[in-house]
């Protein structure tokens, strides 16, 4: 189990050498570390429906992994406070600690964003930032607003208060640099297109109107297809591929567009281990090149494994930060944050730094049990 997991981790972690101390191969393959991990994260395994990912084994021991600075800045609230303007330099303590440039490098900034369909509020007061080259998981039960948030980032659903900034622009103005990967099983398997034709669709925006794809576009598409390990299936009909392979083709389509921010809607649903591995590898390659990635998923283990930060959603945000601080039993059970919409607040003790002063009286979010939804 452990060597297999270590291998799975490899491409992901190699992409982020700066983050020593968390989930390194050495850590993972050391029995002692694994034991500590199991001990530390044991409570998290409740309700985990995918034992092959054994979350306990994946979690690094929080005490060992979290640098002292983390404790000083307080859990989970730091990035929110930066977004909400308390950090004048635009440099969150989080970013500074990791030695990454803040401000300009942000691919996505959510600032207290509320999203609504007409009069129905779908998602309230979400905050967070995704710097270039980083990966964020959107976690929540069905109907939590994960897809809605993705649509809002694409500028397809209006932001009624707060703001969403994509690559320094309004969402609708940034679409050309934003890739979107839908769930493969929403597409018609009978549709008469080849795999290559699907990947070429990612180039349509660059090709422009009227003209057909040129050699450079075909080369980019072939390269993207190779990146997901499906170069040999280029001529096959899309529908003849397995679900996981179709998902990889859709990722290749997005990669072919060379996005700077990539949004994936439940990419691991019903995907076999081989395809999952290939997806993670391709995503790691992308982030290494500086693309920011947002993944909506049910899979806590994958979020833990492949993502730098986790955004917990259920109609509103109740956590944002590194997995080891957000994927805690308290937060997953939906423990009430301090103050309504003070997303990212600590599960208990101390006021959330990002909570608006004089906000609405404390009100717990709708409680939900992770065990019932995974």
């Amino acid at each position: 189990m452990i060597p297999a997991l270590a291998r799975r981790c490899l491409p992901v972690d190699r992409a982020r050498p700066a983050r020593a101390g968390r989930r390194t191969v050495a850590d993972m393959s050391s029995d002692a570390a694994a034991d500590r991990a199991a001990a530390a994260a044991a409570p998290l395994t409740f309700g985990m429906a995918r034992p092959r990912f054994g979350l306990a084994a994946l979690s690094s021991p929080p005490a060992a992994a979290a640098p002292a600075a983390e404790a000083a800045t307080g859990p989970a609230g730091d990035s929110v406070s930066a977004v909400m303007g308390t950090d004048a330099a635009g440099l969150s303590p989080d970013g500074a600690r990791r030695g990454e440039p803040g401000g300009a490098a942000d691919a996505l900034v959510l600032a207290d964003a509320t999203v609504a369909y007409g009069r129905t509020t779908a998602l309230e007061r979400v905050s967070g930032r995704v710097p270039a080259g980083r990966t964020v998981a959107l976690i929540g039960p069905n109907g939590a607003g994960k897809s809605t948030l993705i649509k809002a980032i694409l500028g397809l659903v209006p932001v009624v208060s707060g703001s969403i900034t994509v690559l320094g622009r309004a969402p609708a103005d940034a679409r050309r640099d934003v890739g979107y990967v839908p769930q493969a099983d929403t597409l018609d398997p009978d549709f008469p297109v080849s795999v290559m034709q699907v990947v070429l669709m990612g180039r349509y925006r660059r090709i422009g109107w009227v003209r057909g794809p040129r050699a450079a576009d075909r080369a980019a598409a072939a390269e993207a297809l190779a990146a997901v390990g499906l170069a040999h299936r280029a001529k096959d009909r899309f529908g003849t591929l397995s679900g996981g392979q179709r998902q990889r083709v859709l990722l290749a389509r997005a990669i072919a567009a060379r996005p700077r921010l990539l949004l994936l809607d439940e990419p691991f649903n019903g995907v076999d281990a081989v395809s999952q591995d290939a997806l993670l590898r391709a995503l790691a390659e992308l982030t290494a090149q500086g693309t920011a990635v947002v993944i909506s998923t049910h899979d806590l283990a994958l979020a833990h494994l492949a993502c730098d930060d986790v955004c917990l959603l259920n109609r509103h945000q109740f956590g944002f930060g590194p997995p080891e601080r957000t994927l805690t039993p308290d937060l997953l059970r939906g423990a009430p944050p301090r103050g309504r919409g003070g997303g990212g607040g600590p599960p208990r003790g101390g006021g959330a730094p990002g909570a608006p002063p004089g906000g609405a009286p404390p009100r717990g979010p709708p409680r939900w049990s992770w065990a019932a939804t995974v």
Partner: protein
């Protein structure tokens, strides 16, 4: 052979009819491929019926020359309305479409019924009269063909993307409703062009059947398009010949437009049988490869083969569903 296939067209009215049917067959088939991909068969059907009152009003105002502009105006209005309807994606969209369809159609029938030559006029508008096609009609059809094919060629990538994955198209910043409107207008133009030759009712067959048939025979879009165009044109030619020969030799009058449609449907049924047989053979080959080694032996293979045939039938039913 030449006598049978070519000589009849030495008569000018048959030659004109042939040119018109070839133009329409090819044009409608190309539009039909996009209709098939975007699953717009029902909407296309509604559009054909909706054009009917336009034809009648145009005829009442301007005689034969008023038919084309009358149909054109109403078709464009209907295409716009349908795009709005389908963009809103409300519950009961089908019902709204059906109401529009029958409402428009009834207006046309009421208008025609006020004329003394009610039955003859109605038949002409509904089923066309390709043998009376004039050169000016052919020119109009050719002009429509140029416009529609140019639009479809220019938007082929985007229309393909919208048909395959509308959400991704939207995410990439394309205006899906605008692209749908372009396609609906193209369909409307083809319906208008076909009014004289095959009438407003049968044109749906020219659009939907060739593409559906070609789709049964191939998975490759380029092949599907080429086959659909070939089939659409061939059906026009063969249908015209059949109706001519039967009329001349057996003295049984066959309506040309309907004969063309029957040829198309026959081709579809043949393709269906072919696709079913191919799927059955494939399953049988798989069963034969798997069968001998298994303990179930012959029974297993037979069951697999039967299942294969069932699957073929299911495939065919699915294809039929796509066609509708």
């Amino acid at each position: 052979m030449t006598d049978l296939l070519v000589t009849p067209f030495e008569r000018p009215y048959l030659a004109r009819a042939l040119v018109e049917l070839l133009l329409l067959g090819g044009l409608a088939a190309v539009v039909g491929v996009f209709v098939l991909l975007r699953r717009l068969a029902f909407l296309t059907d509604a559009l054909t019926h909706t054009v009917f009152p336009g034809v009648v009003i145009g005829f009442l105002i301007g005689g034969q020359d008023g038919v084309f502009p009358g149909a054109l105006v109403v078709a464009f209005v209907a295409a716009g309305l349908f795009t709005l309807l389908s963009a809103s994606r409300r519950v009961g969209e089908d019902a709204a479409l059906a109401i529009l369809l029958t409402g428009f159609f009834a207006v046309g029938v009421v208008l025609v019924s006020r004329r003394s030559s009610y039955t003859a006029d109605l038949t002409t508008f509904l089923f066309g009269r390709v043998l009376t096609v004039r050169v000016s009609d052919i020119v109009a059809t050719a002009a429509v063909a140029v416009v529609v094919l140019a639009v479809l060629a220019a938007l082929r990538k985007e229309l393909l993307l919208v048909a395959f994955d509308p959400r991704a198209a939207q995410a990439a910043g394309y205006r899906v409703a605008a692209l749908d409107l372009a396609l609906n207008l193209a369909i409307a133009l083809v319906v208008v062009a076909a009014v004289r030759a095959v009438g407003t009712v049968l044109v749906i067959a020219l659009i939907v059947v060739p593409a559906a048939t070609a789709r049964l025979l191939s998975d490759r879009l380029a092949v599907v398009t080429a086959a659909a165009v070939g089939l659409g044109m061939a059906a026009g030619w063969i249908g015209l010949l059949i109706s001519y020969h039967v009329s001349v030799r057996a003295e049984v009058r066959l309506a040309t437009g309907a004969t063309v449609v029957l040829v198309l449907v026959a081709a579809y049924l043949l393709a269906l049988a072919f696709a079913g047989a191919r799927a059955g053979l494939r399953r049988r080959a798989v069963a034969a490869a798997v069968g001998p080694g298994s303990a179930a032996g012959q029974d297993g293979a037979a069951a697999e083969a039967a299942a294969g045939q069932d699957a073929g039938a299911v495939d065919a039913a699915a294809a039929l569903g796509r066609a509708r």
